[in-house]
């Protein structure tokens, strides 16, 4: 157990203490106890920067379940470190923000909130810093669980519960699929370690399970990172408190899928399926998200769809960039590595501007009581600092200079344009789709950014529609967005502070094969590239985007834009309804609660299976030649037996029925006599007598048999079942008999005939079997009888004393 392990587990340890701190120091906001941890961890992770920038990596291992190859290995490389810094850095700001956002009211369950939040933080660190896939999975599901609990934090709202359940079902579905994918990788490589799997890439690529494994892992990534069509959980997750949305549902958790894809690129990258699935789903998600965002009225919903669309964009870039492994870096091929560069850079940028925007929206919500853009407006003068942060955030997201969003948007355009020149994977025919869709999506992105900013902060102030008197937020709440907004500007003006410190190491993690011979990625980010295509595209985006924004009214009359809810929700909601309907149907079909139905099923099974077997194995063989002669006795006995059996269903009187059942038993005993089995006959007679007497005694106390009228259909089906059982059982017996003459088998009695006297010294074979050959079983039977006898004693005793004691 090293310090690094402790770092990953630290949030969990603190989470255990939180309930006590909450109880003990009730007057202090619990958030203050939490705040220190992410800050310390952030600083701790910063100390790794020099080593990681130099191309190094840190690894610490603790064996966990060695027999299955599961070790808790913490592995810090560029990719892991970037995420760790995001998790702890944004985590610090979010915790600080939450202290002001969620007031320390009397019955506010702050302990729950921070326990869940810490649980999430630890789990997320575990996901990005573990080398072992099983450990990744364990932490991955924990993030889903924490996310579900946080979405349902205000559980009194129906929408919260709905959102919590939805996110859970979708992400757990993805998680299970991912686990299946990991297992397939394990079956192929016999290891769960990502390092070792990457080392065996050539073994995997030719394996037949390669494609299933890839698809299953992508399912995990797509559900977590809200890619179309699994994105529907994210807008409903916005029911969580805003700090949670800022943290989990924009900056960190939803990027776990991106992380997974980046992590797995060395394994799957370079395959056409990987390339197309990622870039295809990614680019469509980008378009779908940005178009859907335009029709939202709720600020948080706009941000949710915007997050979906930006995640799609990063996914696209990772897909396009994966083609880079087919080229040699030494020849100066940076055409496709640019896409990876853009993905990494945009990942950082998105965390900064989206984080600040979420916090801004939270402030607006907190200070005005609404997030509906129809009620908002003119807040610029009332909340100047918030408005400034919002301006920086939205303009960066829209891709305007001099903010960091402009830089990564330009690089994105470069990436998709470069992709059109790719002569792999049929890109010659389809390549042009990417820049076109990217450009259209960017227009809508620009439009919703403008909606967000201008509808909220400019225009007419409408105090009568607000629940509260709007004013600027307290200082503590503003620190978070202001820091993030300043980072937007800093990264925009001096992007190269990131270049070789973090971006280049991350690219090494994603594309290790390109630099395995000691090379280095070329990372230089700057604003002015001259009047190239990308710049023209941006100018086009601004013009058309403004047109969309100015003609918003007309756009929103079009059918697609009328409803705010995503049409795919229909599928989710209804599939749950179908599931429940289907389950009810299966339930009602068989679970009637009536014994006679259950008996009927069992006998249908019995008869049905015998019938199937008889015909499938062609086993019907009736051969009456070798049967024993039927004597008159037997004939009469059997005839009476049959008559008695048939009469039972027609008897309406209980006592009569019992007597007839008894008659059947006695006739059976007589049959045994005829077949010369006196012991058996005697036993049968005794049992039958006792049974009839007992039945008579008991039934005497019961009420009269109720005359039930059954439907004819039921009568007929019961008749059919009984006849079928009789027929097939008889057929089986007859066939078995015929077979035994075809291939004679030793009679089982021979063993006892030969050995009864020699081994056990007894002449009466039945006795010998009971007391000797099966002595142990008899002993146990005696025990059963003894228990029954004792039970009867107790019964008698209790009846004697009466029931009044009860």
């Amino acid at each position: 157990m090293s310090l690094l392990h402790l770092v990953v587990l630290a949030p969990f340890l603190l989470a255990i203490l939180i309930p006590f701190l909450y109880k003990k120091f009730r007057h202090i906001h619990t958030g203050w106890f939490v705040l220190g941890l992410p800050l310390v961890l952030f600083i701790y992770f910063l100390t790794f920067l020099p080593e990681i920038s130099g191309g190094g990596a840190v690894q610490e291992t603790v064996p966990w379940i060695p027999s299955l190859g599961i070790d808790f290995t913490v592995f810090v490389d560029g990719l892991g470190l970037l995420f760790a810094l995001l998790i702890t850095g944004i985590g610090t700001l979010v915790v600080l923000y939450s202290i002001y956002y969620i007031a320390n009211k009397k019955d506010e369950p702050l302990n729950n909130f921070y326990v869940y939040l810490l649980m999430f933080m630890g789990a997320m660190l575990g996901v990005v810093l573990s080398d072992n896939l099983m450990v990744v999975y364990v932490f991955w599901e924990t993030t889903s669980l924490a996310s579900m609990l946080l979405i349902g934090y205000w559980f009194h709202k129906e929408r919260s519960r709905y959102g919590a359940q939805k996110s859970m079902l979708i992400t757990v579905f993805g998680g299970f699929s991912m686990l299946a994918g990991f297992t397939l990788l394990y079956v192929m490589t016999e290891t769960f370690s990502i390092r070792e799997i990457i080392a065996q890439t050539d073994v995997i690529a030719s394996h037949e399970l390669f494609l299933p494994a890839m698809l299953l892992i992508l399912l995990g990534a797509f559900t977590k990172s809200a890619q179309f069509p699994f994105h529907i959980w994210l807008p409903d997750a916005m029911e969580a408190p805003t700090p949670v949305s800022a943290y989990l549902h924009s900056a960190t958790m939803v990027k776990a899928g991106i992380y997974l894809v980046a992590r797995m690129t060395p394994v799957f990258g370079g395959e056409p399926q990987w390339f197309w699935l990622l870039s295809g789903f990614g680019i469509f998600t980008l378009l779908w998200g940005s178009v859907s965002a335009v029709r939202q009225k709720d600020l948080k919903a706009i941000l949710a769809f915007s997050t979906i669309s930006q995640l799609g964009m990063i996914m696209t870039l990772l897909g396009l960039g994966s083609a880079a492994v087919h080229f040699d870096l030494a020849n100066g091929e940076t055409l496709y590595t640019t896409a990876i560069l853009a993905a990494v850079f945009h990942l950082i940028n998105h965390a900064t501007f989206k984080g600040s925007l979420f916090m801004v929206v939270g402030i607006v919500d907190h200070e005005t009581g609404t997030r509906d853009i129809r009620n908002l407006g003119g807040l610029m003068t009332l909340m100047p600092i918030t408005a400034t942060a919002a301006l920086i955030g939205t303009f960066s997201m829209a891709g305007l200079p001099p903010f960091n969003g402009f830089l990564s948007k330009e690089m994105f355009f470069t990436g998709v344009l470069n992709a059109t020149t790719l002569d792999l994977f049929n890109m010659q025919t389809w390549g042009l789709i990417f820049p076109v869709i990217a450009w259209i999506a960017s227009i809508f992105t620009f439009a919703y950014c403008m909606i967000m900013f201008f509808k909220t902060f400019t225009g007419k102030h409408q105090p009568e529609k607000l629940k509260k008197q709007a004013h600027e937020a307290p200082m503590g709440m503003l620190i978070g967005p202001v820091i993030l907004a300043s980072l937007v500007v800093v990264f925009g003006l001096f992007p190269n502070v990131l270049s070789y410190s973090i971006i280049e190491p991350v690219m090494r993690s994603i594309l290790p094969s390109l630099v395995s011979d000691g090379g280095e990625f070329y990372v230089n980010i700057y604003h002015w590239h001259g009047p190239n295509t990308e710049l023209m595209m941006t100018i086009g985006v601004v013009i058309f985007g403004s047109l969309v924004y100015l003609n918003l009214k007309r756009w929103q009359e079009a059918a697609f834009f009328l409803k705010e809810r995503d049409p795919l929700n229909w599928l989710y909601d209804n599939s749950l309804v179908w599931l429940i309907d289907g389950a009810t149907w299966v339930n009602d079909l068989q679970l009637t609660g009536r014994l006679r139905d259950y008996m009927a099923y069992m006998f249908v099974f019995f008869a049905g299976f015998m019938a199937w077997g008889l015909f499938y194995f062609d086993a019907i063989a009736i051969d009456l030649e070798n049967t024993a002669p039927i004597s008159t006795y037997i004939f009469v006995l059997v005839a009476v037996l049959i008559l008695a059996t048939i009469s039972i269903p027609f008897i309406n009187h209980r006592i009569t029925a019992i007597i007839v059942v008894g008659v059947i038993g006695f006739l059976l005993a007589l049959l045994f006599v005829v077949f010369r089995a006196p012991d058996l006959a005697l036993t049968q007679l005794l049992v039958e007598t006792v049974m009839v007497v007992m039945f008579l005694l008991v039934f005497y106390h019961l009420p009269e048999l109720k005359k039930e009228s059954f439907k004819p259909t039921m009568k007929i089906s019961n008749l059919a079942i009984s006849i079928a059982v009789g027929v097939f059982a008889s057929l089986t017996a007859l066939s078995a008999h015929a077979f035994s003459y075809e291939n004679p088998v030793d009679a089982i009695s021979n063993y006892f005939i030969e050995n009864a006297y020699t081994l056990a010294g007894g002449n009466n074979m039945v006795n010998v079997i009971l007391v000797d050959f099966r002595g142990l079983d008899t002993l146990l039977e005696v025990l059963v009888l003894a228990i029954a006898a004792l039970g009867i004693v107790v019964l008698v005793k209790y009846t004697a004393k009466g029931r009044e004691n009860l």
């Binding site: 379940i65 099983m134 364990v138 349902g152 919590a164 079956v187 077979f739 107790v794």
Partner: protein, 484 residues
């Protein structure tokens, strides 16, 4: 072999338990009609623990009395699981019978002990007849236990249904066994195993029928689809601790018998029956999980959850790569199943008794009423659903890897999908506990009686412990000599 030179000491644990059970029985009716006899409960737990120690001491080495009674790794592990399971059930019962005046305590405990004895015989026998005697000892005691709330209509109904359907199932088993005996002339599983390959070639119909009828009968005892109809009704009507007995001990012992019969008696014709188990596992997982969704009563829900779990347990039976590995998987899952189900039932007993309501809504606001119980229940449910880091997760994962290694991908896929469905209904209980307020007429805090909290704590430690340190158990199982 003769009765004089057989190694009877192998049976020491069984004999001791029988004597102790009879002593408890006698003590009961010597102490008169007074209802409150907690000492009997304590004595029963002590007897079970003593027997557990004896099992650990006397059953460590393999041995046999004829081919009837055998002691091997499999018998020892399952006996310990069963004994500890019953001890947990009795601890829950001690709380339960205190609240129910219509349950006679003495008979209740001794019946449970006799049932345990039956279960121990079942897992320790290598002969069709001995096995059946053990099965009936367990079943008959269980029939009585199901109807123990004599003046409660539902309980009586449950007992009647159980006895009638259970009797039919036993008849199925005997019918199947009689085919086998008729063809092989022996009831010893080892001899049967030698004889069946040629018999299968000569009499495919009779042998298939024999196997099918036995599967149907055993399938009833372990409640797999389509022989599961009794489970929800009986589980619902029976006193809750008895329900936990049925779903934990009875089911594990039933699995013991299935494994013993098929892996010892029919191992040589594995390919003939493996597919039947694969099909059963598939429909059990699908139907069990589907129907559980629509249940509104927690005991019925647990019944179907138990059905579904039986489906998961059947997967390794159908996907054997090596016998030792399969046994290790099943036993690990059995241990996990014992812990999580018993823990869940302890909480269910307490909650349903306290609210006097067995609907799912009786769990509402449990987190506010008893946070520890709610968190424990969540862990048990997560474990049942197969989420990390619980014993249930590793058990299921282990089985899943096995299914893939045996190249039964379709079964693995069904496992994944049904696990997701199962999450839906386990989530329902979690939603009640965490996302609802307590009902107004329930007490704001729920006090937890000692025996219940002991069971919950032990199960919780086990569930998380074997989740974190699964290798302790798997290493032990991997090195075990399973069958004699």
């Amino acid at each position: 072999m003769s009765a004089y030179n057989a190694n009877w000491s192998l049976m020491t644990p069984e004999i001791v338990l029988m004597i102790l059970a009879l002593v408890i029985f006698t003590l009961d009716f010597m102490t008169g009609m007074s209802r409150n006899k907690p000492f009997l409960g304590r004595l029963s737990i002590l007897s079970l623990l003593a027997t557990t120690v004896l099992v650990a001491v006397f059953n460590r080495e393999t041995g046999q009395i004829g081919d009837m009674f055998v002691v091997d790794g499999f018998a020892m592990v399952l006996k310990i699981v069963i004994l500890l399971g019953v001890a947990g059930v009795i601890a829950i019962s001690m709380y339960y019978v205190d609240r129910h005046r219509d349950v006679y305590q003495g008979e209740y405990y001794s019946l449970l002990l006799f049932a345990t004895l039956g279960a121990m015989l079942m897992v320790s026998s290598a002969d069709l007849i001995t096995l059946f005697v053990g099965l009936e000892l367990l079943s008959i005691s269980a029939y009585c236990l199901a109807g123990f709330k004599k003046y409660n209509g539902k309980s009586t109904e449950a007992a009647i249904k159980y006895v009638v359907l259970g009797g039919t199932a036993s008849a199925f088993i005997l019918y199947g066994m009689s085919f086998v005996y008729g063809l092989t002339g022996t009831t010893s599983l080892v001899d049967i195993n030698e004889a069946v390959p040629t018999l299968f070639a000569d009499y495919p119909y009779i042998m298939t029928m024999a196997i099918m009828f036995m599967i149907a009968g055993f399938g009833f005892k372990i409640s797999v689809v389509p022989f599961h109809m009794w489970a929800p009704d009986v589980y619902e009507g029976a006193p809750t601790p008895v329900t936990s007995f049925l779903s934990v001990v009875s089911k594990i012992a039933g699995f013991g018998i299935v494994l013993r019969v098929f892996f010892v008696g029919f191992e040589s014709v594995y390919d003939e029956w493996a597919f039947i188990f694969a099909l059963l596992a598939a429909i059990t997982m699908i139907v069990g999980n589907m129907i559980a969704i629509v249940q509104r009563k927690v005991k019925r829900l647990m019944a179907f959850s138990g059905v579904a779990q039986a489906g998961y347990l059947l997967v390794p039976v159908a996907t054997m790569v090596s016998l030792d590995m399969t046994m290790s998987m099943i036993t690990f899952y059995a241990v996990a199943y014992l812990l999580m189900t018993l823990g869940a039932f302890a909480i269910i007993t307490l909650v349903t008794e306290d609210t006097e309501d067995d609907a799912l809504t009786s769990f509402s606001g449990l987190y506010q009423r008893a946070p520890y119980l709610a968190i424990a229940m969540t862990i048990f449910l997560l474990s049942l659903a197969g989420l990390p880091i619980t014993a249930g997760f590793f058990g299921k994962f282990y089985i899943f890897v096995g299914a893939i290694q045996a190249e039964m991908l379709w079964l693995a896929v069904i496992m994944i999908f049904t696990s997701i469905v199962s999450f839906f209904y386990y989530f329902g209980i979690m939603k009640q506990m965490f996302m609802r307020d307590p009902k107004p007429n329930d007490d704001q805090t729920l006090s937890v009686p000692k025996p219940v909290s002991a069971v919950v704590t032990i199960s919780l430690v086990g569930t998380i412990g074997f989740g974190l340190l699964a290798n302790v158990l798997t290493n032990y199982f991997n090195n075990l000599q399973w069958f004699f």
